[in-house]
């Protein structure tokens, strides 16, 4: 491989060569620059190849024919090669992107760009302190020039502020360097590291100055107003370079410098980094300007990596994997987002709605955000996993907490932005059409996915991108041009095939969940046949969710479980976001889900004790002081998915606003993922005590409260889908309650709920969805009398509500029966009472559902409505059949599970003799009940038909109405505020306290962000003062005042 020096030589040579070209030869100059950048990239790529395929040991390059430390030397190791490659590629792509600007500005700008790239590489390569300083100066000065590529007039001021700041930094750095030199007699970083005690003598002031100067170059929060102004006003292509290239380079410099500082200085790096990560993300919450937001995000990400650098000592040989994963993901994503912002005319976040109608760009946008947040299958995900595990292994819990909190904030504003871009009214300005720019962006997307692949391969855990379900889901990205019919068939076939293939390996519990999630998913997908066109984005998202679910069920190690969990979260987020007005709800879903996922991550990390390959079975071995905390974290994490009360506020909107066929997916299927998690947790860890409190007892309470509040809220909804959504909260409360009872029947009941809730909730969502589709509204009081027009939907709802309310003879009763038997064995009576209370309330909202939609007076505007589309009705009818079958022979599904549960709870198994199911307390014979009820019903019906054989069907308004004949349906359909008396009596329970609580937290965060960011006054001098203040404060903190 050619010497790494050529990276610098080519860059410089080309820059000088540009001066020889005539001003008019724009294309020539541009060509030379591109060629040089390509050449530099190639050299780096070659080195990456050589070092990655060889033993990876770094190569030293000496200059002046003299060995270090007497002459400057460079080093090309794997990290250096990768970083320079990323820097050079960023430079190259930005140059391509800047084509028009560069033609306009001429060769001087090109030369500056070349030197910027070269110098950033130099920072990475050099092993000499002063040489490092020179390259830093080059980068700073080149920044001062490249800022001006922007058309934004304000860039000038920003550039000046930047220069002022860099002046201060220079002063500190030089003073530090010279004293460090004086102490050690060398300028070579490695040489200094060898005698680091000399540098650190006397408080390490010299090192402090050098270190703080490099840190300041990282634009640390909060001393970074100057950098933010540059990010905001510079040309996006340059901001991309500033964030990706010079940020990476400076980080690497910090890393090198810490070789000198040794382990005593690492905590300081972590401290500064983590403050930056959390602080900048917090401030970003209040941002309206896209590029400034990205600037904050850059600051945050760099802070995170600095924090990781500070943890270098404990990460060991995984350090490069972790820091590199986050760094490269950040670089690609940030560059990509800045490049993308160049296509957008407006500068508000909402202006990105111009992307609507450009699915490829939206895909790019989504990929970049996923890269930044660290979602699977991107490098940040693997890195985050190993990082958190390693940190937890050393007991650095507070750091984990801060990292995850910051990441959550970041995900919050990024996904909020994404939601706005997708759902807000499309901005009038079109997206710029430039094939060059798009090619650059797509290259970044490809790079991001490529990194995902590589990091997966390097990961200690499996490569997610090679997991068949995920591959299958991502395959739909390629199939997007096909019509919906083909894709739907493929999706269904895929789900069924995967189920069949995996069938032999499932244990009974997994089988039930797999049947509900995969076969159930396929069943719901039948409804998707009714959509037309291509339905861009639906199938990748849906299949991603299903892939996550499929992987979740069979996951054996914590990593696989967590990866599956995140995958299904992302997939479902995109699915939910597709709804018409679902933007805020999808966001809250995402935030809650990610928060939950982070808790799960933290829980696993605590349990894993530093082992990234931790298996789920290992949860059993977690010892006492830690176990309850692990239990608590995991349980809360899972409960965000089951929408337990307190964590439920995302659910109603998300489920209600989703598309017709999405609602049953996210309600009928997705919620079960949380239950599955709880199952896994309880099976592994059993019951845990914290400060003498039985944790399952608390879950019991939460389940009961969820049941009560969910049901009560549902009774007061006017929106049919919201009603069903709240009902899900209640139903999941039951299931949680059952699980938390920690006995045989409780678990059986929870499983019964898994099946039942899937069937009837999917069915109800489909039929209500069909009705909403036909009537154009979801407000129940606007409907009425649809029974004659939509009889099949009516039947589905009727069967659904009978089953759901637990009224015999349908399957819901089985659940109730098991439940009553189960609670007879537990001692926690108070929460049980709540469950009792919530039981009848379910009856209220269910009745309301059927009454106000299908009964009562038909509205004038609905007289011509037809039955719901065939493909919506078909699955409903299948569900009806399933319900009937399950009602008659519940043993079919439950018997094996009953036996399976016996290994965890041997007592309390049911007896399955003949037609009667017996428990220790009672008995239940589903078929007998069905027959008795059926016979009575049939006889009476026959009798009534007989005596009423001549009954005359009357017109709609032919009722006894105080002597009047009403002629308007509105006056006679009593449907709005249906349970007003109930509200009067119990309304206080439905005060949206939880919603207010979370809203208050969000407001608090936003308000503080909005207030605190006024720190950035815009005055360059103030920024410089803040810079110095940062130095002094850090110094004081360091010395302990």
């Amino acid at each position: 491989m050619v010497s790494a020096l050529y990276i610098l030589a080519v860059g410089l040579g080309a820059a000088f060569l540009l001066g020889l070209l005539r001003d008019e030869w724009r294309a020539g100059a541009y060509g030379v620059s591109l060629a040089a950048l390509a050449c530099m990239s190639l050299i780096s790529a070659g080195w990456v190849w050589v070092l990655a395929s060889g033993d990876g040991s770094a190569v030293d390059i000496t200059t002046a024919g003299t060995l270090p430390p007497y002459a400057i030397n460079l080093r090309m190791g794997l990290a250096e090669a990768v970083l320079t490659l990323s820097i050079n590629l960023t430079g190259l792509l930005s140059a391509v992107y800047l084509r028009d600007t560069m033609f306009n500005q001429g060769r001087r700008a090109l030369a500056v760009l070349l030197i910027f790239t070269m110098a950033a590489c130099g920072i990475v390569l050099t092993r000499d302190l002063f040489n490092l300083f020179v390259f830093f100066e080059l980068v700073a000065i080149a920044t001062g020039g490249l800022v001006l590529l922007s058309r934004d007039k304000r860039a000038l001021a920003a550039g000046f502020k930047y220069l002022v700041a860099s002046q201060v930094i220079t002063i500190l750095l030089l003073v530090g360097i010279i004293f460090a030199y004086h102490a050690t007699g060398t300028l070579n970083i490695d040489g200094m590291a060898e005698v680091s005690s000399l540098v650190l003598k006397g408080g390490g002031l010299a090192f402090f100055l050098m270190f703080i100067a490099i840190v300041l170059d990282l634009k640390p929060f909060p001393a970074n107003g100057w950098a933010l102004d540059v990010y905001e006003s510079a040309h996006p292509a340059f901001s991309a370079m500033l964030s990706a290239a010079s940020g990476s380079a400076a980080l690497f410099a910090a890393d090198k410098l810490l070789l000198i500082g040794g382990s005593t200085w690492l905590p300081l790096a972590t401290g500064i980094g983590i403050v930056g990560f959390v602080g900048a993300n917090l401030f970003a919450l209040a941002q309206r300007n896209d590029r400034r937001l990205l600037g904050y995000s850059s600051v945050a990400q760099i802070g995170l990596i600095l924090a990781v650098i500070g943890q270098r000592d404990l990460l060991g040989d995984r350090y490069l994997f972790i820091a590199g994963g986050i760094l490269l993901a950040h670089a690609v994503a940030k560059a990509g987002l800045y490049w993308l912002s160049g296509l957008i005319e407006g500068r508000t976040l909402t202006a990105w709605s111009a992307l609507q109608g450009h699915p490829i760009l939206i895909f790019a946008f989504a990929s970049f955000i996923a890269l930044l947040v660290g979602l699977p299958p991107f490098p940040g995900f693997y890195a985050k996993w190993e990082l958190v595990i390693a940190l937890a292994g050393e007991g650095r819990i507070a750091l984990i907490g801060l990292i995850l909190f910051g990441a959550l904030l970041e995900a919050g504003y990024l996904f909020r932005w994404f939601g706005r871009a997708l759902k807000r009214e499309r901005a009038p300005e079109p997206v710029a059409v430039s094939s060059f720019k798009r090619a650059v962006i797509l290259t970044a997307v490809a790079a991001g996915w490529g990194l995902g692949l590589i990091w997966g391969a390097l990961s200690l855990n499996g490569n997610l991108l090679l997991a068949v379900p995920l591959l299958f889901a991502f395959g739909f990205l390629v199939l997007e041009p096909l019509s919906v019919q083909i894709k739907n068939s493929l999706a269904i076939a895929g789900l069924v095939a995967w189920f069949v293939l995996s069938l032999p390996s499932y244990d009974p519990l997994q089988l039930i969940f797999a049947a509900v999630m995969l076969i159930g998913g396929a069943l719901i997908l039948l409804a998707s046949y009714q959509t037309q066109g291509r339905r861009i984005g639906f199938y990748p998202s849906a299949m991603l969710m299903y892939a996550g679910l499929a992987m979740l069920i069979v996951a054996e190690d914590a990593f696989g479980f967590f990866a599956a969990w995140e995958s299904l979260t992302i997939g479902s987020y995109f699915l939910i976001l597709r709804g018409q007005r679902s933007e805020p709800h999808a966001l809250s879903y995402m935030v809650f889900s990610l928060a939950g996922a982070f808790l799960i991550l933290a829980g696993f990390a605590l349990a894993a004790d530093g082992d990234p390959l931790f298996t789920l079975a290992g949860l059993k071995q977690v010892a006492a002081p830690l176990a309850p905390w692990v239990f608590l974290l995991l349980a809360i994490g899972f409960m965000t998915k089951t929408a337990a009360v307190g964590l439920h506020i995302w659910l109603p909107g998300a489920h209600a606003e989703a598309e017709t066929d999405v609602s049953p997916m996210v309600s009928g299927i997705l919620l079960k993922a949380g239950l599955f998690g709880l199952f896994v947790l309880f099976m592994a860890m059993g019951s845990q005590q914290l400060y003498g409190v039985e944790l399952t007892h608390i879950l019991l309470w939460i389940g009961a409260l969820s049941a009560l509040i969910g049901n009560l809220m549902a009774a007061f909804q006017e929106d049919a889908k919201r009603l069903l959504a709240y009902s899900s909260i209640g139903q999941m409360g039951y299931a949680l309650f059952g699980l938390a009872m920690m006995n045989h029947l409780g678990w059986l009941m929870a499983l019964m709920f898994v099946i039942n809730h899937y069937i009837y909730k999917s069915m109800l969502f489909l039929s209500v969805g069909g009705v909403a589709k036909r009537t154009g509204t979801r407000d129940m009081y606007r409907m009425g009398g649809l029974i004659t027009l939509m009889p099949l939907s009516f039947i589905a709802v009727l069967i659904g509500i009978i089953a759901m309310s637990g009224v015999p003879p349908l399957s819901g009763f089985g659940g109730r029966w098991i439940f009553y038997n189960a609670i007879l064995t537990t001692d926690s009576r108070l929460p049980m009472i709540l469950i009792f209370i919530s039981g009848p309330i379910a009856f209220l909202y269910l009745f309301r559902l059927i009454h106000t939609i299908f009964l009562g007076q038909l509205k004038d505007e609905h007289r011509r409505i037809k039955e719901a589309p065939f493909w919506l009705v078909l699955p409903q009818m299948i569900f009806v059949a399933c319900l009937m079958a399950f009602a008659l022979v519940p043993g079919l599904a439950l018997r094996r599970v009953d036996a399976y549960i016996s290994q965890f709870h041997p007592e309390g198994a049911l007896g399955w003799e003949g037609l009667t199911i017996t428990s220790a307390f009672g008995y239940w014979s589903p078929i007998s009940i069905m027959i008795v009820v059926g016979v009575i019903f049939a006889s009476l019906f026959a009798w009534l038909v007989f005596v009423n054989r001549k009954a005359q069907k009357v017109k709609q308004f032919n009722i006894v109405f105080a002597g009047e004949r009403p002629f308007r349906p509105e006056t006679t359909h009593f449907a709005w505020n249906f349970f007003a008396p109930y509200r009067k009596a119990l309304g206080f329970l439905t005060e949206p306290l939880v919603e207010r609580f979370w809203a208050a937290i969000v407001d608090l965060l936003h308000a503080s962000a909005d207030l605190l960011r006024r720190l950035y006054t815009g005055n360059g001098q103030t920024y410089a003062i803040q810079l110095l203040a940062f130095v002094v404060v850090v110094y004081l903190l360091r010395t302990g005042l």
Binding site: R816, H851, G922, F979, L986
Partner: protein, 301 residues
């Protein structure tokens, strides 16, 4: 316990006895209430007259399928409830179809009729029906709650969900009755009982004295006849449960008649003393007075 064909004629016999007893009993109760109010009241055979009259009506209209099904549901609920609970303790003859399920079945089957009724009434499209339904559902859900709690307390007390076993445990003297062994549960259940009997002060659902208002508003002729039949059977069926759970059950028909009469009388007496509650008032009343009793019953059980 399992099915034998002989159970069918036995069950029909039970049904016959209970229905007739129900017709007479409701009339007697109405008369008692009237007398307390210094009115003359109806004759005891009034129910039979009404029944004949309703079946005799020739005008017969329908508002649709569910309208048709409403009374069927209603009566199925009443008859089914009767069938799923053994009427007389210790006799194979009058234990009906109780092999199909236990107390839980009975508890939930109570709702079957209400649901069907509400559906049928809804189909009629009459606003007053809907108003009646909302009131009825609101009140019933609140009223059933203390009962459910009490039932659970009893089930815990006897460690079984089988009605027969619960009755069996109460044999051997009046002091063995749940009434005395678990008075709080019984108190809660009896308060609940007041609410579900659709008598004053909890009769705003039907509002029988005003212009027709309530779920059956639109029903007439044979529909109404079915519902009237149910109005005779359903209370008895419910009282049977109360009797079995709290008052030692009945081993013979005389004991049965007496106990059912007395239990029924409780609601009538309360009804003539108190004025009518609005629905939200009754909900609050149940929550404030009856539910806590039920809670206490469970906690000490």
């Amino acid at each position: 316990m399992s099915f034998e064909w002989i159970k069918i004629p036995y069950a029909l016999l039970t049904l016959f006895i209970v229905a007739n007893y129900g017709f007479l009993l409701t009339a007697v109760m109405a008369k008692i209430a009237a007398r307390v109010g210094r009115r003359h009241g109806i004759p005891v055979w009034q129910n039979y007259l009404d029944l004949i009259k309703n079946y005799g009506l020739r005008s017969s209209i329908t508002h649709g399928v569910m309208f048709y099904m409403g009374p069927v549901f209603r009566l199925t609920g009443g008859v089914g409830l009767l069938m799923f609970v053994p009427t007389l303790y210790g006799t194979e003859m009058f234990s009906n179809m109780s092999f199909a399920g236990d107390l839980i079945l009975a508890l939930y089957f109570v709702f079957f009729g209400s649901l069907g009724m509400a559906l049928g009434a809804g189909e009629s499209g009459h606003p007053y029906s809907a108003i009646g339904v909302t009131r009825g559902l609101s009140q019933v859900t609140a009223a059933e709650l203390p009962f459910a709690l009490a039932v659970y307390a009893v089930a815990v007390q006897y460690q079984t969900l089988s009605v027969t076993e619960i009755v069996a445990a109460q044999q051997g003297g009046i002091l063995q009755w749940t009434l005395f062994t678990n008075p709080i549960a019984v108190a809660a259940a009896m308060l609940s009982f007041l609410g579900t009997m659709m008598r004053p002060p909890f009769d705003v659902v039907l509002a029988p004295q005003e212009i027709p208002i309530g779920p059956p508003t639109e029903y007439h002729s044979s529909y109404l006849a079915l519902m009237q039949t149910n109005r005779a059977i359903f209370p008895i069926a419910k009282i049977v449960i109360y009797m079995n759970l709290f008052f030692g059950g009945a081993a013979s028909w005389p004991a049965f008649f007496l106990k059912v009469f007395l239990i029924y009388l409780v609601s009538v007496i309360v009804g003539v003393v108190f004025p009518r509650f609005r629905v939200e008032q009754s909900i609050r009343w149940f929550l404030i007075w009856a539910v806590p009793l039920g809670v206490i019953a469970i906690m000490i059980a």
